[in-house]
């Protein structure tokens, strides 16, 4: 394991010894989330969100499996089967609302987890692989959430499927055939609904698999920490259990309080009324918006309004629609390159005065604006705002971060985690 002072699993009793020699699963768990995993002692509450994301995935898988026992993926029956769950199935309303809001809470938790990584430089060497796997999980989550939203076959489900698969038709030459391949037809219909259900059931398990890789990769260098200073010795760490299991237990309680409050008292707050209207291929809702967690990306898509071409010739090289689609995917894919764009050797934003300014006064406001504008109709003021915010978003990652990491003069780092925590310099090495 990562640190030489990690405690070793000692099987107690003959059965445990017998199992340990044949399939050391308890040992694996002990070393992964037990006393055998030394973790920096100074983690703050932002470090709770990794475990919470795992809990959110479990909530989604468990409620999803039981919902699938009652749901039928048919264009005539899907909407009614969801209402059957809401009305007639025992505790069905609870399972459905928990799944519906569980998706939103999964994204809330994962977004906080990502922002923690962005601020504290968790993506930097030697943790690049954890970051790459994390972005992969995020992409898989988005695909899963989109397909899940189609399943109730309400108006937003249908038109969401229509619009999202429409992105692919922007690709030159292969676009339209590709869209037909995805949908299994010319418009979302039975074929599309069935495959979305099949994939929506499959992908959470793929996500779970990538999470195992994510956690595995985490255990090679060990967790990062708010100072960004590497662990120097045993005094810098505590065993995951009981220290962080206890802290995560408390964090879980707080998370569940929020989750329960929304699920039981405002279950439709994060949803859209139009999805309680059965899908109608002949009539588009007045105002189509995706679920809130897609709004920033939707705003980026809509922000591209001019074609890229050669001026005064009328030759268009990249039409605005294609550019919007490229930029929308690009806005997520650029995260894959982040470890090589931000080259500052200092990890934590605490010790990076310039980076911190751009993070708090640039990146966060631009994403808030994009989320807000993504849900608004295309009126001038919202388009203008989202164009400014989207321009900043791309500039932040692709231009500002590389420059900042070159010109910035970081603050003095503490010598060690223990020193940062206790405020006392380490005694001379014993």
């Amino acid at each position: 394991m990562s640190f030489p002072w990690a405690q070793e699993y000692k099987p107690q009793g003959t059965v445990a010894k017998w199992v340990d020699e044949r399939l050391p699963l308890p040992r694996l768990v002990y070393n992964a989330v037990g006393a055998g995993y030394p973790v920096p002692r100074n983690l703050n509450y932002f470090w709770n969100f990794g475990v919470l994301a795992g809990v959110a995935l479990v909530i989604q898988i468990v409620t999803g499996i039981v919902l699938a026992m009652h749901y039928y993926a048919s264009v005539d029956g899907a909407f009614n089967s969801v209402e059957h769950i809401m009305r007639d199935v025992n505790a069905g309303w609870f399972l459905r609302y928990a799944h519906m809001n569980g998706a939103s809470f999964f994204f809330i938790v994962v977004y906080i987890h990502i922002f923690r990584g962005l601020f504290y430089g968790s993506y930097k060497a030697p943790r690049e692989m954890i970051w790459l796997l994390g972005v992969t999980i995020f992409l898989l989550m988005m695909a899963t959430a989109f397909m899940g939203y189609v399943l109730p076959w309400g108006q937003m489900s249908f038109w969401g499927a229509q619009v999202i698969t429409g992105f692919f038709s922007a690709i030159p030459l292969v676009g339209e055939p590709l869209r037909q391949l995805l949908l299994g037809g010319f418009a979302p219909d039975q074929a599309a609904l069935n495959r979305f259900f099949s994939l929506h059931y499959l992908m959470p398990f793929v996500i779970a698999g990538v999470i195992i890789l994510h956690v595995w990769a985490l255990h090679i260098p060990g967790s990062s920490n708010p100072t960004g200073v590497s662990v120097k010795g045993e005094q810098d760490t505590v065993p995951f259990h009981p220290y962080y299991t206890a802290k995560d237990g408390f964090g879980l309680g707080i998370f569940l309080i929020f989750f329960v409050a929304v699920t039981f008292f405002a279950p439709n707050m994060l949803g859209h009324p139009d999805n309680y209207i059965p899908a109608n291929p002949l009539s588009t809702p007045a105002h189509i918006v995706p679920e809130w967690y897609f709004l920033p990306f939707y705003a980026i898509l809509k922000a591209f309004t001019v074609d890229f071409g050669i001026p005064f010739t009328g030759i268009i090289i990249i039409p605005a629609k294609l550019m919007g689609v490229l930029a929308m995917f690009g806005s997520i894919l650029l995260l894959f390159f982040l470890p090589w764009l931000d080259t500052s050797p200092v990890r934590s934003g605490h010790y990076r005065p310039l980076f911190r300014k751009f993070f708090w006064y640039g990146l966060i406001p631009s994403l808030v604006v994009l989320t807000y504008c993504g849900g608004k109709p295309p009126y001038t003021q919202w388009v203008v705002l989202s164009q400014i915010a989207a321009a900043y978003y791309f500039a932040h990652f692709l231009i500002i971060l590389p420059i900042v990491s070159r010109i910035e003069r970081p603050l003095a780092l503490p010598n060690s985690i223990t020193e940062a925590v206790t405020g006392k310099p380490l005694p001379a090495a014993a």
Partner: protein, 287 residues
């Protein structure tokens, strides 16, 4: 290399966005968006409160029964309630026999087949049946309603922004368009002379595009005679049917809220215990 490519890509995307920004502003100045009649004259829902509002709210059974009466005597002539079964009415406080009588006496019979000939037929409803729809299919509904489709009402309070307040406002929102002014005192037909309600439609500023195909359903007070002696004013009927339609859309609301309180209470204790446990374990660790 990565950074050089990133720089160029970033420059391209941000540059195109800034070009777009200029374009948006220029075209907004050159061709400002025309004001729309909906923007100026569509109304927010009327203020109305219900017994079921809020995290402690419970349905008023008497009101739901009155609402059912309004639905069955007024709305059900055109609007279906497909997701609700007669047996569900037990939750409104009706006994088993009353539910049976309601099902049997419903003005539309349940589609069926003649057991001997197999011909389409109808039979009286039983509690297990869903409420029969007034029209056999969408085409029939449109044919009878000047090509407008009366929406199913089962989920209407969840399917419209504003929920029951929207239903309430819409039912009471019919106005005479001639001389109609909004709160700012602007007269609709003076501002938008082209926006006159076309024949066959009805002016209602609470409807999304201001012109609704539904004729005013609640025409006068005492259109429905309430069994419990409540005076059936238009406001009362609109409020009762809005409450009833909240129940049809969310029949498990009371279970949901009470389960929510139990879950919250449990979690508060758990979180407190977990916090104490956390503090105890960390008591000796400065962090």
């Amino acid at each position: 290399m990565v950074r050089l490519v990133a720089f160029l890509v970033g420059l391209f995307f941000s540059g195109m966005l800034l070009l777009g920004l200029g374009d948006t502003i220029v075209s907004a100045i050159k061709e400002p968006a025309l004001p729309t009649v909906e923007a100026g004259f569509h109304e927010e829902t009327l203020p109305v409160t219900f017994a079921h509002d809020g995290p402690l709210g419970k349905f008023d059974r008497g009101q739901l029964q009155r609402g059912l009466k309004v639905y069955s005597e007024v709305c059900s002539a055109c609007h279906s309630l497909k997701l609700v079964a007669f047996r569900d009415f037990a939750a409104l406080g009706y006994s088993e026999d009353q539910v049976k009588a309601l099902a049997k006496g419903w003005k539309t019979e349940v589609p069926s087949i003649n057991p001997e000939t197999g011909e389409p037929a109808t039979r009286p409803g039983i509690p297990a049946d869903k409420i029969p729809s007034p029209f056999a299919n969408e085409t029939a509904a449109r044919a009878a309603n000047n090509n407008a489709l009366p929406p199913d009402l089962s989920l209407i309070t969840k399917a419209r922004e504003g929920g029951p307040a929207y239903v309430y406002s819409l039912l009471l929102g019919y106005r005479d368009q001639a001389g109609y002014k909004n709160e700012e005192g602007k007269e609709l037909l003076k501002e938008f002379p082209d926006a006159a309600t076309p024949p066959g439609l009805h002016f209602n500023p609470w409807f999304a595009n201001l012109n609704i195909a539904m004729a005013p359903p609640l025409a006068a007070d005492d259109q429905v005679t309430y069994d419990d002696g409540t005076k059936a004013t238009k406001q009362q009927m609109a409020k009762d049917v809005a409450a009833f339609l909240t129940w049809t859309a969310e029949p498990k609301m009371e279970n949901r809220k009470s389960a929510g309180w139990a879950a919250l209470g449990f979690l508060l204790i758990f979180t407190l215990l977990a916090f104490m446990s956390y503090r105890t374990i960390w008591a000796d660790k400065k962090h």
